[in-house]
Structure formats: structure tokens, C-alpha cells
């Protein structure tokens, strides 16, 4: 019968329709659901949190940095006892504007998700975070920055633990303040929400000569003599030394200590684009890795790079951009004999009765340079603090290694940089400090801050 044949066709069509419904439902759940569920308009995200007391956050010595307080009416309030000090590490937590930084990254941990214990009505306890941050050092570094725009990052070069990390300007992270001032905070010209230490992208200036010196060592040019005329000229490119000073016949060590642009532009130009690109990548610039905070990976900035570009990159200018965290990592790598440790902020995650849910251990991120090379660069950095531009970073009784930078940018006012570590024989702390649009020299403005942070940390031990 013709009708029955046609009815079977229709049955097939209907089967396909139902099958496509099933497929789409599964597809949605597999590939789209996670993103949709996390949409800030989805009120369910806050529902679950009513039944959980969000975990606390502690520094490395157990000082409370964030906690949830339960009010008389069972309402929960997120409190930050240290105020603005951790606004760029812990972030904020607002029912209206969501979460940021560690509050976001470790949200499921703080909510104790994955805890399979059954609960009927009573409040569940979320997990606590124990940071690698040393609160005393963080507070000290914050005061040292003295409200100037910029960032300071201190890390343990042997483990990658972040000891202190300050970004300024900052904001008041309490939920009430965030909800009251949101528009103001977002629209403010100096972008207080930008975590400069990890999300900033700055030309590293002369601090990048550390990387160029390592490249020169690898090319066997560490014993060469240069005739420094104070002005590097190649085609249309002209780079002056700082204050146009000519140093005459100098070697690489001296050139590094006085931060001669002539020497390093020459090296960058002659070693060529490939070499500079290669070593930059080895130092993990432009490469992503799993860090506890959203970060800027930095960039060498060129699609095709010629020797003139390479000369500029060699002195940390041109299109090269890095974050203060990356400069701290590069410095740590030199301090740690060429082994770049993966930086981390969260030491462990524990339940409220002390059971360790997750423990982060030191991990090597990369081996950008050999130990010999690292030792050589270390020697140059020690010399810089002893006799060169970094003299303001000297600590009595401790050998400090460092490098200054005064990075030109799109404005008239240069960034003041200092990176360094101490003690040079057995580095305990590596620091990167930047004062943005400071206008002064790195060796004058940034070096004393770095020195104070290092000496404070060494005295804490």
C-alpha cells in the first residue's frame, strides 16, 4: 500500500527529528554547558554558596588574609582583614560583579567542591588556601612602593614560591566597596583593576641586557673588547648611551656594569634576529603556562625581525614587552644556575581540620641557559651592584646581584626598573621592581626599593 510506505517515510523523518534533539542536548552538555553555567547572569552559582562557608586564605605563616564571617541572620560576608594589600592577589568577591584572581581561580576549592560528604541543612565548610606569600614582606614591600604606580615581585629563585607581589594602584576589594565604586574603579584612567605585576606589559629596558649577555656568552663573545663611542649607528637606527656618555675601550663585563647601550646594541645587531628571538623564547617570553592568576605572557612583538630590531630588543626596547613577574622569573633563573622554576602562589589547599587536599611542589619550568652561562651572568650582575649602575642596591655583609633599567616608552617619562637577587652565593630572594612613568633612573629610584625588600626578607629569616 502506497500510504503505508509513505507513513514509514514519515516515521523515519520523525525518528531523525527525535534523534537530532537527543544529539543536540548531548552536544550542548558536552561542549557548551560549562561556559553557559558560568555566565554571570546564572543566579545558580550563588545559590550553592549559601550552603557553604567559603574557605579562608592564609599567608605562609597562617596570618588570615581573607575569611568569611557569618552574621546573626546567617548572612555571609567576605572580609579582607588586610584591606587593599591583597587586592591584586586574592582579588574581589562580589555577588554583583563576580570574582577575580585567586577568588576566581580557586573558587571550587574555596567552596569545597568535590567533597562528597552528605549534608542535610547544616553549613558545609569550604577548603582553605595557604599562600606562599609572606605577609610581613608583602606589607613591607607595599610601604616601600609608597603609593607610586608600578609593581614589585619577590620570589624564591630556588623554588618559584612568590614571597610578595605588589601592584599599584590598587582598590578596596571588600564587596561593599566594589559594589559602591564599580563604575569609578572601571573607568579610572590609571586602571586600578589591572594587576600590573602579572598583567602589565612593559618594555624591560636595560634589565633585558641580562638575556643579551647570556646570548653573548653562548656565542663566545664574553671576552671581546668594544670601542664604545657613546652612539650606536646602523642605517637609520641611532641609539645613544645614557647621557650620551662614551666609555671607550671596554669589555662586556664593564659594558654590563655601566649599562652601555653601544655594547649591547652592537651585540644584538651582530648576533642577529634569530639568536635574540631564540633566547627570548627560551626565557619563556610569549609562552603561556599554568599560573594561579590570569597573566600577560609578554611578547617579542615582531612577526619578521631584522638586525636593527634585534639591536633594539637586545637593550629591552623596540616592540619587546614583558611583565614584572617575567623579569623576576628571568632573574631567578640566573640566580638558580639556569633552572627556571615555575612561579606559584598557593602552597597548599587544606580542609578546616587540616587535611591536605592539594599540595603544590616546586617544579622546574624550563632550562633556558646552562649553569656556566648563568654563573657568568651572575658575575656581571654582582659587578653591576658592586661598581656599576646598581650601587644603590648594596647591602652591607651580603653580596647582591642586580641590573638596573630605565625603559623608554610612548611618553616622555621612562619606567624605572631594577631586578636583582641576594645573597649571590646562595640566592634566597629574587626581586623585580618597576616604577611606571617615573621619569627617573632605575638605579636611583627602583634599586633602593629592591634592596630594602631583599634586606628585609633576609633579616626575617
Amino acid at each position: 500500500m502506497r500510504e503505508n510506505k509513505r507513513i514509514i517515510h514519515v516515521l523515519i523523518v520523525i525518528s531523525i527529528l527525535f534523534l537530532s534533539l537527543l544529539t543536540y542536548l548531548l552536544y550542548f552538555n558536552m561542549f557548551r554547558a560549562e561556559e553557559v553555567a558560568l555566565n554571570s547572569y546564572n543566579r545558580r552559582q550563588w545559590d550553592e554558596e549559601r550552603y557553604v562557608k567559603r574557605g579562608s586564605i592564609y599567608d605562609c605563616e597562617g596570618i588570615v588574609l581573607a575569611e568569611t564571617v557569618i552574621g546573626d541572620d546567617n548572612s555571609q560576608t567576605r572580609r579582607y582583614p588586610k584591606g587593599r594589600l591583597y587586592s591584586h592577589i586574592i582579588g574581589y568577591y562580589s555577588k554583583v560583579y563576580g570574582k577575580s584572581m585567586l577568588e576566581m581561580k580557586y573558587d571550587s576549592m574555596l567552596l569545597g567542591k568535590g567533597d562528597i560528604s552528605l549534608s542535610f541543612g547544616e553549613l558545609k565548610e569550604g577548603y582553605d588556601l595557604n599562600l606562599t606569600i609572606n605577609h610581613k614582606l608583602q606589607e613591607y614591600a607595599y610601604n616601600q612602593m609608597n603609593s607610586r604606580s608600578g609593581a614589585a615581585v619577590a620570589m624564591n629563585p630556588q623554588t618559584g614560591e612568590i614571597l610578595a607581589m605588589v601592584s599599584l594602584p590598587d582598590f578596596d576589594p571588600t564587596p561593599e566597596a566594589i559594589e559602591r565604586d564599580w563604575n569609578n574603579i572601571v573607568e579610572k584612567e590609571n586602571s586600578p583593576l589591572l594587576s600590573r605585576a602579572v598583567q602589565g606589559a612593559y618594555p624591560p629596558g636595560s634589565t633585558y641586557k641580562i638575556v643579551t649577555a647570556a646570548a653573548a656568552f653562548e656565542e663566545g663573545r664574553n671576552n671581546e673588547e668594544f670601542n664604545d663611542t657613546g652612539k650606536f649607528e646602523q642605517g637609520s637606527l641611532t641609539v645613544d648611551n645614557f647621557n650620551s656618555k662614551a666609555y671607550g675601550k671596554i669589555n662586556l663585563k664593564k659594558g654590563f656594569a655601566v649599562s652601555s647601550n653601544f655594547v649591547f646594541c652592537t651585540l644584538g645587531y651582530e648576533m642577529g634576529a634569530e639568536k635574540m628571538k631564540n633566547i627570548t623564547e627560551r626565557f619563556y617570553i610569549g609562552k603561556d603556562f599554568d599560573f594561579d592568576l590570569p597573566m600577560n605572557t609578554g611578547t617579542i612583538g615582531y612577526k619578521s625581525m631584522n638586525s636593527s630590531d634585534s639591536a633594539l630588543v637586545a637593550i629591552g626596547q623596540g616592540k619587546l614587552l614583558t611583565s614584572p613577574l617575567q623579569m623576576a622569573m628571568i632573574t631567578s633563573c640566573v640566580a638558580n644556575g639556569g633552572n627556571m622554576m615555575k612561579p606559584y602562589l598557593v602552597d597548599s589547599v587544606t580542609t578546616d581540620n587540616g587535611y591536605v587536599v592539594k599540595k603544590n611542589r616546586p617544579q622546574s619550568l624550563a632550562l633556558p641557559i646552562s649553569e656556566n652561562c648563568a654563573d657568568y651572568v651572575k658575575e656581571l650582575m654582582v659587578e653591576t651592584v658592586k661598581t656599576g649602575t646598581g650601587r644603590n642596591a648594596q647591602i652591607s655583609g651580603v653580596t647582591v646581584a642586580g641590573k638596573t633599567g630605565t625603559a623608554e616608552n610612548e611618553t616622555e617619562k621612562s619606567h624605572a626598573w631594577f631586578v636583582g637577587f641576594a645573597p649571590s652565593e646562595n640566592p634566597k630572594i629574587a626581586v623585580a621592581v618597576i616604577l611606571e612613568y617615573d621619569g627617573g633612573e632605575g638605579g636611583v629610584h627602583a634599586a633602593p626599593i629592591a634592596k630594602n625588600i631583599m634586606s628585609k626578607y633576609l633579616s626575617l629569616k
Binding site: S15, F18, R32, V36, N39, R43
Partner: protein, 413 residues
């Protein structure tokens, strides 16, 4: 008789028992061990099993139709009791009435033999219902499709769908071949279809329009010899749809919201995004009965009940509902294929298409597979008219099946 002895018809009934006990038991726990919920669960379970026994013992044809419908009713009622216990109790009353209507429509359909002679009755009744809705109707959430009689609200369009299927079947079963006013019945059915659709456009009931039109198109495909008439109807529909898209703001909004609901979550995209949030938050196994927040979904007890099921019972729960509807359609197709009386066959196919498209349109809309047009989910959604109309259709299907099983001679002809 073979099957009855083997007893394999019992197994699906056990599933129904398990679903009721586990579902309502869980709901009872989630509501601080409110015993009333357990009574509701056991009561509805006993009631549905009784209905099933009657169908089996009285040899009312296919035994699975009522079982599948019972499962869907259980899932829907479970969800409604979880959303709002009072609403759940009201739904039980509707289910009770629906079952009475089920047996009544079964008996009436089974014993009357001149259904295929009354095309003008269906057309006339449908038109009257539409005109009453348009003149006396109440506006509820943008659609004028509610009629209030003695304080009870009902949606005539649910009933007209059945009338429409009967009307089409008169012609396609070839029992109506005489022209009226020199117009061939083929064109009268077309005019009737577009008249109904025009009424529905005035009510802004886009979902029902889609259901009616799809039934019509597929009926043409099954019964018309050539493809010319089919193509002509298709062209007409395409042109109308394009014009509608161009000139009707409602339709444009629905399409743009379907393509990108995320750009306007707070306003136009509100309904569909809330539904997607619910489904996405449920995951594969759901957040558990009573643990979700389905109250955030607008119209959750009627059009969007599928989203609530997905949130609390998971995507697998949702898939189970889809599969149940698929099984229901499959059984109905089987009955239609087996029917020897051409009118019964046509009505069978029409009602099957009605069930299938109605579920496809609303579930597809809720999960953003197709643009959203609000219609109810048969047997699952809250609402008297929807439940009663579904039971009438089910009763008719059951009668068609019974006529087949028992043989036409003993049926009312």
C-alpha cells in the same frame, strides 16, 4: 493472548512502580519528610496501575500507549509537586478528569461509525471555537488563546488541533469526495487549514500554527499522488513566513533571540537563557530532585518544564523524556500502519504527527535547537486543557488500536 500469558507486559509496569516510589520518596526526603508527598506518589501510582489494568483486562488494544503516557505523567507530576505542591494537587485533579475523558472518548470513538461523514461539523466547531476565543478570549502572556467558561480557563486551540486532524482525515480517507459549491474537497481542506492558521495568527499562537502546518504538509505527502500540491503549499508557506519575518516584529525577535540570546540576557533573551542556564547547571545527572533552582525559569510549569527536568534529573533524565515521546510516537505509528479502515488510519497518523511535532517544537525550542514557540508538553506540562486534549487523543488512538485488535466487525460499524 500469547503476550498476555508470557507476562512481558508486566515489566514496564514495574518500571512505573519504581519511578513513583523512588521519585516521590526522594521528593518527600527533600521536603523534610512531608508524608503528603508520599501519599500523592502512592495514590497516583495506584491510580495509573488501575487504569493500566483496565486497559489490559478489557482488551482495549495497545497496552504500551497508556504505560508510556503514565510514565510521562509521573515525571511531569513529580516535577510539578516539586515546584509547587498545590499546583501538583490541582494537576492530579486534571489527570483524574483526563482519565475519565480518556475512557469516554475511547467508548464514543469506538462505538460511532459515521465520524468520516462529519467534516463540516469539525470545520464549523473549530471555527466557532476560534471566533469565541477571539471575541471573548483573555490575553495571557501575549497570546489571546484562553477562554473562560464559568470561571474555568481553557485553551480552545488544544481541542481544535484534534478537530483539525479529524477534518483532514475525512477527505484523506476518501469518504468525502463530493465538491461543495463546485469546489473540490482538496481545496476546501486547504482553505480550512489556512483559515485555522489565520485565526491562530490573530491569537499569536505560533507554536500551534507550526504543529497544524506540519501535520498538513505530512498528510499531503502521505496521501497526495503527485508532489505538485505539496510544493505549492510549501511555496505558499515559505512566502508567508518570509513576509511574516519582514513585517511581524514578534517573529523577527524570536529568530534573532534564537540566533544570539546572549547579547540581551536581561530582556529579550531572558526566557531562553534562563532555560539554558538550568540545563547547563544540571549536567548529565542533574542537581538532584529538590536541589536545583527551577523557579528561576519563567513559565517553568508549562512550556519550560523540560528545562526544569533537565536541571534536576540531568540531561539523561531529559533524554529519557525525549525517548519516551519517541516510543509513544512509534507505538502510534504502528497502530496507524496496522489500521485497515482508511479513516482510522488517517486519524491515527494525524494524531501521531500532532504528538511528535508538539514535543519536538517545544523541547527543541527550550534547548535552543530551533526558535522558541510556546506550546505545552503533552502529559507533562501543567494545565487542564493540555492534559485533557492529550487524553482525548490517546483515547482515540486506543480505540483505533482496539478496533484493529478485536476486528472491525465487532466494533461499532
Amino acid at each position: 493472548m500469547q503476550r498476555l500469558k508470557k507476562g512481558n507486559y508486566k515489566l514496564p509496569a514495574y518500571l512505573l512502580v519504581i519511578m513513583n516510589i523512588l521519585g516521590f520518596g526522594l521528593l518527600c526526603m527533600a521536603n523534610n519528610f512531608d508524608p503528603n508527598i508520599m501519599y500523592i506518589g502512592l495514590g497516583i501510582m495506584a491510580f495509573l496501575l488501575l487504569v493500566y489494568c483496565i486497559v489490559v483486562v478489557c482488551r482495549m488494544g495497545d497496552k504500551f500507549l497508556i504505560l508510556i503516557a503514565s510514565m510521562l505523567i509521573t515525571i511531569g507530576l513529580l516535577m510539578l509537586c516539586r515546584l509547587n505542591l498545590k499546583m501538583g494537587v490541582r494537576q492530579i485533579i486534571w489527570i483524574g478528569l483526563g482519565v475519565i475523558v480518556f475512557f469516554t472518548s475511547y467508548c464514543i470513538y469506538y462505538n460511532i461509525w459515521f465520524w468520516d461523514k462529519m467534516w463540516f461539523v469539525y470545520l464549523g466547531l473549530g471555527t466557532v471555537l476560534f471566533i469565541m476565543t477571539l471575541t471573548l478570549g483573555q490575553k495571557v502572556s501575549g497570546s489571546t488563546n484562553w477562554l473562560s467558561i464559568a470561571g474555568i480557563y481553557f485553551q480552545p486551540s488544544e481541542i481544535t488541533k484534534i478537530l483539525y486532524v479529524m477534518f483532514l482525515s475525512c477527505y484523506y480517507s476518501k469518504s468525502w469526495e463530493y465538491p461543495v459549491l463546485k469546489i473540490k474537497p482538496k481545496y476546501i481542506t486547504a482553505m480550512g487549514t489556512y483559515l485555522f492558521i489565520l485565526f491562530l495568527v490573530m491569537q499569536r499562537d505560533w507554536g500551534t500554527i507550526l504543529v497544524l502546518f506540519l501535520i498538513y504538509i505530512f498528510m499531503i505527502y502521505i496521501y497526495e499522488n503527485g508532489f505538485g500540491f505539496l510544493a505549492a503549499n510549501f511555496m505558499l508557506a515559505a512566502v508567508t513566513a518570509l513576509l511574516g519575518y519582514k513585517f511581524l516584529y514578534h517573529i523577527r525577535v524570536r529568530v534573532s533571540v534564537w540566533l544570539d540570546p546572549w547579547s540581551d540576557i536581561a530582556n529579550k533573551g531572558y526566557q531562553i537563557t534562563q532555560s539554558l542556564f538550568a540545563i547547563a547547571s544540571g549536567g548529565y545527572f542533574g542537581r538532584g530532585l529538590g536541589n536545583g533552582s527551577p523557579s528561576y525559569i519563567p513559565e517553568v510549569h508549562t512550556d519550560f518544564i523540560f528545562a526544569a527536568i533537565c536541571e534536576e534529573m540531568g540531561v539523561f533524565g531529559g533524554a529519557a523524556v525525549i525517548i519516551l515521546f519517541f516510543l509513544l510516537s512509534y507505538r502510534c505509528f504502528k497502530i496507524a500502519l496496522g489500521a485497515k479502515n482508511p479513516f482510522n488510519k488517517a486519524v491515527g497518523v494525524g494524531l501521531t504527527l500532532m504528538f511528535a511535532f508538539q514535543t519536538f517544537i517545544i523541547i527543541g525550542g527550550v534547548i535552543k535547537f530551533i526558535p522558541l514557540t510556546g506550546i505545552t508538553v503533552p502529559f507533562v506540562s501543567y494545565g487542564g486543557t493540555s492534559i485533557i486534549a492529550s487524553f482525548i487523543s490517546l483515547g482515540i488512538m486506543q480505540a483505533i488500536s482496539a478496533k484493529e485488535v478485536r476486528g472491525e466487525k465487532r466494533a461499532g460499524k
